[in-house]
Amino acid sequence: MSAPGHPASVVAVALVVLATVLVGGFGLRISRTTSDFYVASRTVRPRLNAAAISGEYLSAASFLGIAGLVLVHGPDMLWYPVGYTAGYLVLLVFVAAPLRRSGAYTLPDFAEGRLESRQVRRLVSVFVVGAGWVYLVPQLQGAGLTLKILTGAPGWLGDVLVASVVVIAVAAGGMRSITFVQVFQYWLKLTALLVPAIFLVLAWQGDGRPRVTFDEQISVFRADHPLYATYGLIIATFLGTMGLPHVVVRFYTSPNGRDARRTTVAVLALVGLFYLLPPVYGALGRLYAPDFMHGGDADAAVLLLPARVIGGLGGDLLGALLAGGAFAAFLSTASGLTMAVAGVITQDVLPSRGVRHFRLATVLAIAVPLAGSLLVSRVPVADAVGMAFAVSASSFCPLLVLGIWWRRLTPPGAIAGLLLGGGSALLSVAITVSGAVRPPGWPHALLAWPAVWSVPVGFLAMILVSLATPGRIPPGTNAAMTRFHLPEALAAGRVR
């Protein structure tokens, strides 16, 4: 393992952490003190909202994981960023506007509003919490890894640090979904990745543009059925984005369905822009840090590249910028997810409501994944996040798509689909992470990339059981459909 990083990196991380706590503690609010506020900006504009969504969405998997995977396993891994981006296209065409018009703040809200069933609501809550936890584990592990690389601190310290910062910030009443803070997070992450990338590319050119080859045999095992794994990845990321709890919550901020659509296009562009960078790091990593290909901690390659390629003070400073950006990624995604999961826990799990319960829920929301991150074996960050997408794709995707477009969906159908599709995906992920089924062989491939079969299972179960229970179609279905699809201007003008 390489030597601990420059103190500048530690300072950068400390700054990001401090800023997060302060923002949380003081509850920085974007507001105006005069009433021309309404005239100037009645609502959050699509572009601003899009940057906020992107800020929360770009996690450690994007910041560190993709480059690491590309470095180790070659360009096939670029399906990750493609999937993360294309997921928004699927979300746009099937979900964005109707979801906003449903008025739902969370997925359980949507389920209850559409299917008029407390039971479905509770089940969806369980899945939101489950998917959120699966998503949180790699964030915490990534933080632990980053801190280990930077300071040589034991691996668990970073996990605990990020978890505690999130708890303090969220429970202190801050880190609410404040648009401007997240917008800042997006640009911080982009800058933190872009500036070092420019210097790295310049250095590469100065080096006489050596050719990057991906032909070297990969020594670290990933999948013995790579094509199947690729398809599993594509399906999970394309269909899973729409169900991520912290993404759904942000759509509420759009003033109407039309703006929700435009927001999604902007997110697509911003996320796509960001994803131009990790492949650069992956390729340069191949060239300048080939030792990572055989080591375990390829996720850290991004952080150490500037020191390797440029070196000196400049390299250290760029490394520090990357470290700060990485921590911003952990904190923003982790706190967004924790907020979403804690919200669901307070509303649907804990008995009574109130501020104290929300704090308790926050602790609960992050304690479980923290324990998970410390106990389970390390899976590459991007792969672990891919599993969260698989769970989301096999449970929330059928629920949302059928709920929005199909009148004959019934509560029993939804429950069957969630349990069979989402449940089996969740179970597969749990088995994979626990290490009970080991590669090689089809059983491992099927369990590690469940989306290929669990998504169709989820859709089929939902459709077939719904068709078998035609008497259970919620009475308000037509009203709900009308609300989902009717443009707001028309809905308001109609009654005037």
Binding site: V82, V90, V93, G272, T482
Partner: protein, 120 residues
Amino acid sequence: MSAESTPRREVVTGEPRRVRPLPRYRAQSEIDEQTALGGAYVRSLMRSQLRAGLTVFAVLATVAGTLPLLFEALGSDALVWGVLGFATCPPLTLAAWWYVRRAERNERDFARLVEGLPSP
């Protein structure tokens, strides 16, 4: 008035009325949302929107479904790196933009259709 002389405040809340929140206004909203426009009109809007969505999704699924096979057949890592790393964002954004224009046009057409009706 100065801060020192500010009298103390007490917290006052109403007494619990033991009201159960009104479960939902379904009947009312259903009448409101159904009779006014009629299910047939909404269904036609849904169909046109779904068609637009499915068009985009079909193109996306075809491309994403065949690319891995193509890459496998060609076996050129540089091509994969170039296509997936840099060439996906623009077409995705273009497709999204096309869809949004199409969906908004559908909604405008629908509004014209409905507003041209004698008031329900």
